[in-house]
C-alpha cells in the first residue's frame, strides 16, 4: 500500500504499520495516531461527517508534511492515510504512523504530522448534526507560513 493516500475506503492501521516498518529493522519504536469521528462538537450532537478533499493537492500536501517532518526527525519514516466521504460516529478519519530508532522521534513526528494536516491539507469536514449541517472551517492553508510550521514543531516537542 502507498505511504500516503486519500481514500474513500475504510482505513487500515495495521496495514500501514506493516508498510512503514517492513523496509527496515533499525526501528525501535512506532508511534501511531488515529483520528475518530466524535459524537459532540461545539455543543452539537453530531450525526455523521462527510469529508471532502481536493485529492491531488491533498496527496501532495501530505507528502510535503512528511518531508518537513523528516527534516527535523531525520531518522523517521512516516505514513498518512486520510479518509473521504461519509463517516459514521467512531470511524477513523485519519491514521498516521511514524517509525524511528527512538521513541521520542516517533512520537514527535507523529504529532507534528497531525498538527500540519490541520493547518494546510485541502480537506474539509461537513458536519451533519441534529437540526442542521455546517461546513467546518479552520486554518487558511499556506504551506509557506513559517509561523504556523513553528507552532506545529513546538507542539510536537512539548
Amino acid at each position: 500500500m502507498p505511504a500516503v493516500a486519500v481514500t474513500s475506503d475504510p482505513l487500515d492501521l495495521q496495514g500501514l504499520i506493516e508498510e512503514i516498518s517492513r523496509t527496515s529493522t533499525a526501528d525501535g519504536a512506532i508511534a501511531s495516531f488515529v483520528g475518530l469521528v466524535r459524537e459532540e462538537n461545539q455543543g452539537r450532537q453530531v450525526s455523521y461527517l462527510e469529508y471532502e478533499a481536493y485529492e491531488p493537492l491533498a496527496v501532495r500536501a501530505l507528502q510535503l508534511i512528511i518531508d518537513e517532518a523528516r527534516e527535523t526527525w531525520t531518522d523517521t519514516r512516516i505514513g498518512v492515510h486520510h479518509r473521504t466521504g461519509r463517516l459514521e460516529l467512531g470511524e477513523a478519519s485519519i491514521i498516521i504512523v511514524a517509525a524511528s530508532p527512538h521513541r521520542a522521534h516517533a512520537f514527535a513526528a507523529c504529532r507534528y504530522t497531525i498538527e500540519r494536516v490541520k493547518q494546510i491539507v485541502p480537506i474539509w469536514k461537513h458536519e451533519h448534526f441534529e437540526g442542521g449541517d455546517v461546513w467546518l472551517e479552520g486554518a487558511t492553508a499556506d504551506p509557506g507560513d513559517e509561523a504556523a510550521r513553528e507552532t506545529a514543531r513546538r507542539i510536537a516537542c512539548a
Binding site: 497531525i114 474539509w124 479552520g138
Partner: protein, 81 residues
Amino acid sequence: MRVTIRLFARLRDLAGSGELVRDVTNPATVETVWRSLVDEMPDLRAYERTMSVAVNADYAKMSAKVHEGDEVAFLPPVSGG
C-alpha cells in the same frame, strides 16, 4: 482563453457547482479569474481574505499567471484530520 475553476466545501455550495469552465482575458492571473467569478457570484467574496488558491493542483498566489486550459482552485479554510 478558457480555464477550469474548482470550488470546494462551502464555496462549492454557494456556487452550486464544484467545477466551472469560464473564459477569461489573456493574459490573466488567479486574481483575474477570482474577480470575474465574484462579479458573477458576489456571495463568494466573503472568502477573499481567508481562502487559499491552487493552480493545476499546486499551491499558488493570487498573482500567479494562468494559462489556457489551467485548473484554478479556490480553497476555503481547511478542516481535515
